[in-house]
Amino acid sequence: MDAKDILGLPKNSITQEKKSRPQKDSQRKPDGISREVYALTGGFPPLIPAIEASQLKKRPPSDEKITWQWLPFTNSARKDNLHLYHWVRIVNGVPPTGDYSFAKYNKMWTKEETDQLFELCQSFDLRFIVIADRFPSSRTVEELKDRYYSVARAMLAARAPSPGDISGHPLVKEPYNVSQETERKRALSMVLSQTKQQERKDAEVLAEAKRITESRMVARGAEESELPVPSNAGPESAERAAIPSDTVSPSANVQHPSAAVAPSTITVDNASILASLRMLRVYLRTYALDQMVQAASSSAGLRTIKRVEQTLQELGVNLKPRVPTKAVCAEHLELRREILTLLNLQKQLQYKEAEGSSYRDGSYGDTPGTPKHLSHGGDQDRIFVPDMNFAGERIGKRDQKRKAPGRLSEAPLPAHKRPRKLKAADL
């Protein structure tokens, strides 16, 4: 209001707007449906009304008496004599005539149609694709074939002196199977229209399946040997691990992580992988390492695995050793395991701190420093910042911020006694 004054605009325009708007709103609101539903359809009236709103309300003609009766009916499309009941709309006491309305969807072959079919078959030499094109009523190629072959078979059977005579005839021995044919053609067209990517995916899945079945066979061999591996954990891990050496391709190809295995201890997994490796006549060191790494991270989620790799990078270690000798691979594996332990401990610590801080916040009010732990976020993800003396700085920071539990029973320290935050000047 004052703004308008300052700008020097006339004051009346506001009230005019307010008045015109409610009118516009009610104009927009549609009849018969709520505003929200109307908005779903686009919020604007359709160009051409599909159904007149007036029509929806006044439908039943006044001169007709409509009643509904529960009557039996039969279906000409059915072979059995099933009698069912349904509600029937009676107009002025006269029930409707005619067959069950859905019977017409049962594809019936009239003699006329069949004769036409046979004529076309004769003139076009059983070329069904051409016949289907020329057929007066729309029938699929499979339907035409089915009709032709079943009629031909019936005729053959009727004309044959005995059933045994025709049992060798292809019409009888291999009858045309409509559903199978339809399905086959549908599958073919799907395969034909597959994109390259789908093809590749299918090939991958098949290769994976092949690998799994092969490894299952090796695992069965591993079971039969005298290795002391617990039965439920062993075969499953061996399944995952043992891949025959003739499909070994360590460096370039992508590892396919297999589905989750029943939980088992790390040592058991390791033992079974060693066992399955020994079953191979020859393998590459990198392959063995990959198997062991997979086993070690089998209990970890994808995010944890990524964090392990991130940590390795921060430590300046190659994710795949450049010189994978036996010793290097062993060290690498141990390092990975230790990092996993480290991450688990970190998580535990986080949880404990979260618990502790919520407890403390609830009962003791002012507790300096604790909430900041939880919002560290990115900081906490980086454990080893390159070139940083983390032993001094980061952990020191944590220690100073966090309070010992003993403090809970005491009043919060006055400011000058609280551990002071690390300042740049301290470094």
Binding site: S245, R281, L284, R322, V323, E331, L335, K352, R402, G406
Partner: protein
């Protein structure tokens, strides 16, 4: 350098002798074997792992003035011993699978040095299949290597003097070698064999058919040896050890922190006043 290439179809990797390596029983250490080498072929040595360190890769030279549109580089793909020793002691032949645009893309190399040279313009993945001698195993080992022709550093024109070298180190491991195999290779420089327990007797080493007639197959004096990369496990071991130390120290700290949080309140030296009655 000697190059032997032939376009034999892959798949002719059936063992020459009829002896298939059926699953043999484990032998006991200390059993002296004066049996014929046939038994030695079947008897396998438990807990002895034979290791053959190899390096495989490509070296590609830009042809410079002699380069044409379709042949801009000359490259060699090879498998060599990591210390440049003769791999013929374990490898019978190597099959290099090239891009289908090459004539006879399946190239078989029957004797060391296991290498193949070609000219071309394109980078692609080369399949390298290693086939071992009959007394070792009849399964092949497959490797893949991406042929790199163009240097990382794209600045400036390509030089014909310095090739683009990409090598990968790996080790072939035979977890349960046959006695014959072990006897044959235990003193060979290309093969790493762990110390045998005392009293272990192996059959007299039997040499394979073509070994004696072969020319030297090591790559120590190979024309391209000046470009071979060095793979020293020492560097990596050091780095790994340092990393492990860091992680272990961190773990110790965290464990301490956790125990402080979990455990009873720490001992406070302050007298509470209630202890003294």
């Amino acid at each position: 350098m000697s190059l032997t290439t032939s376009s034999r179809k892959q798949g002719e990797n059936q063992p020459d002798d009829g002896a298939s390596a059926a699953k043999p029983p484990r032998i006991k250490i200390g059993k002296s074997s004066e049996e014929s080498d046939k038994k030695g072929a079947h008897r396998r040595v438990k807990d002895v792992e034979i290791c053959v360190p190899i390096v495989y890769g490509t070296i590609a030279f830009y042809l410079g003035r002699k380069a044409s549109e379709s042949q801009s580089h000359k490259w060699t793909v090879y498998v060599r011993g990591a210390t440049n020793e003769d791999l013929g002691v374990v490898i019978k032949r190597v099959v290099f699978q090239l891009h289908p645009s090459f004539n006879n893309p399946t190239r078989v190399v029957e004797s060391p040095p296991f290498e193949l040279s070609e000219c071309g313009w394109g980078e692609f993945e080369i399949g390298i299949s290693l086939f071992f001698h009959n007394d070792i195993c009849d399964k092949q080992l497959d490797l893949f290597h991406h042929l790199k022709l163009y240097p990382e550093d794209e600045s400036g024109p390509q030089t014909t003097k310095k090739p683009v070298v990409v090598e990968s180190y790996n080790e072939i491991v035979y977890p349960d070698p046959s006695e014959n195999f072990l006897a044959r290779v235990q003193n060979h420089p290309a093969v790493i064999v762990p110390r045998m327990p005392a009293g272990f007797n192996l059959p007299y080493p039997v040499s394979i058919e073509s070994v004696n007639e072969r020319e030297k197959g090591d790559t120590k004096d190979h024309p391209l040896s000046q470009w071979f990369m060095n793979f020293s496990e020492a560097d990596e071991l050091l780095k790994l050890a340092a990393a492990r130390q860091q992680v272990q120290a961190h773990i110790v700290k965290l464990r301490r922190q956790l125990s402080v949080m979990d455990g009873p309140p720490p001992l406070l030296k302050q007298p509470t006043g209630y202890d003294y009655t």
